[in-house]
Amino acid sequence: MDYRTPLAKARGLGSAKAGTAHWWMQRVTAAALIPLSLWWLTFIGHLLKSSYPQTVVWLSKPLNSVLMIAWILAVFYHAGLGLQVVIEDYVHTEWLKIVSVWIVKLAFILLALVAVMAIFNIGKMV
């Protein structure tokens, strides 16, 4: 039996100041992704039909580069938060849960950086 009070158990585990941050950012990124994803589909349209120079020129336009980087940052942030909740709900072994969330987050940061770097490299082609 554990006779400690809930307060005693919570002490030392850090403050609750960031408690709503995860929930809140999930919504903020979701709202941003609605218009961004609709725009993003035009990129898929280019991949399907446009010639190589057309796609490169389109993606290199400042507005399109910025929107694509914005989409990349928002989507990886959003997906990272979402997958974290999925892992936390279904993985019940504490260490595996923590390590899985870390791996997903680190992998997503890396993927986002790779994607942004690709945008810069495509921009240099024009």
Binding site: R27, S37, L47, T55, A79, L111, A118
Partner: protein
């Protein structure tokens, strides 16, 4: 203690209930979220392919226009639109409305129809 835990009877779990339509939409929202996260890997791959050069780009374009590629692409886009439509409903819930019991099923049909319309419209626009 642990032994006692094992033989303790469990209350009826998820599988004995008939899930309301809204609950099905909820789990599909989560599943599409995970699927779309996997799709992000393909997106980064696609972007890298564009940054590599014209030959790689043409290979990618052929893959995407191949029957199987087209099917996979449009399943992803349907997943995107379902996730987007159900996500909008989450944002409406978060704003404090849309909880009327008699509208729950109707709202699921609205998001299903909206996601199909958006997918079909994109298919013809892209």
């Amino acid at each position: 203690m642990d032994q006692q835990k094992k033989i303790r009877p469990l209350s009826p779990h998820l599988q004995v209930y008939k899930l309301p339509l809204n609950a099905v939409a909820s789990i599909v929202h989560r599943i599409t979220g995970v699927i779309l996260s996997i799709g992000l890997l393909l997106f980064v791959g696609g972007l890298l392919t564009v940054s590599v050069g014209e030959d790689a780009y043409i290979t990618l374009q052929n893959l995407m226009n191949h029957a199987l590629g087209t099917l996979i692409l449009w399943l992803f886009i349907y997943a995107l639109f379902f996730h987007l439509c159900h996500g909008v409903r989450h944002l409406i819930w978060d704003a404090g409305s849309g909880f009327e019991r008699e509208h729950m099923d109707r709202n699921v049909y609205i998001e299903l129809i909206a996601s199909v319309i958006l997918t079909v419209a994109s298919f013809f626009l892209l």
